[in-house]
Symmetry: C2
Amino acid sequence: MTNSPSKLLDNAVYEFSKLPGIGKRTALRLVLHLLRKTEEDVTIFGQSVIDLRKNIKRCKICNNISDTDICNICSTPSRDPSTVCVVENITEVIAVENTAQFHGLYHVLGGLISPMDGIGPADLDFDGLIRRVAEGEIKEIILALSATPEGDTTNFYIYRKLGNLPVIITTLARGVAIGDELEYADQITLGRSITNRIKFEAT
Amino acid sequence: MTNSPSKLLDNAVYEFSKLPGIGKRTALRLVLHLLRKTEEDVTIFGQSVIDLRKNIKRCKICNNISDTDICNICSTPSRDPSTVCVVENITEVIAVENTAQFHGLYHVLGGLISPMDGIGPADLDFDGLIRRVAEGEIKEIILALSATPEGDTTNFYIYRKLGNLPVIITTLARGVAIGDELEYADQITLGRSITNRIKFEAT
């Protein structure tokens, strides 16, 4: 016999323990927490992810996840369609949106080129980006990808693909983070922020 | 407008962030992880907790959670019905079972008496325990509750309730944990392990 009194419990714990960063003990704790809730509450919990996966769409313009065919960023008239920020995924869209510094549109690639993980250009939405740029309304593409080898490779790939089109390609400023002590900044970052120094403006 | 592109996403993230120890960021990470799975996988995940909550039962004998009317511990003929270990909840049943040192049955109270949390004797399954003892087959009750004020109160309550019945009441040995250095043991624990010292046996 097993140490667990219930196959139903084992199932639920097993499902939770497949989530990233959730071990067997945490999974059991979470499931026991749900067991103490009402049947209605637990149904709402379970159904929320089922509904999400079943009904979520990809925005036909920017490839971001959306409840509708066109996402609420692409369909906001006040946003500037001439500037497009290229990001890896929805988490980066949320991060940039939270800065409240960007008022253009996005293009979500769905990942970065990473031969090690078997992700090639065909797996990501480059075609959609090129088509959007070819339509001619976009003036600037901001590459907002991670500062990793995969991000650099993807940046370079996009740069080559868009090379013939009349669009300005920019990338995020790299430098010492606000609040960081210079002493502890890594030398590559510090070097870049010296090379790309900007005019001091008293605020 | 909100920073999130999807109400469905917000719903799922909100549901996850209600779980203990899961903040907004972790909830988003878990939900995005599920979004990358197939619709079938996500349905299995969501349904596992819904089914658990809907179909789980309480064992009619020991009050432990169970898929059937009588749990698989109470229904195992090789287990000794004359010794009953009283525990707070299913997690403690699993912990004791994992030691493989106990071959009797359990009684799950469903909590500890805790006036601070509004949990009184009426909220816990003492009646079931008293009824089981009154039936006369049980020779020993092992109180395996936490070494906290709530555990002590509950122990004392059970002791008073069972006082008239012909049953031996024992409790877990308290002492210096195996692997602990004496120097760092707290004085109450060390004091108890001196008072309750046992005969040394060379193994």
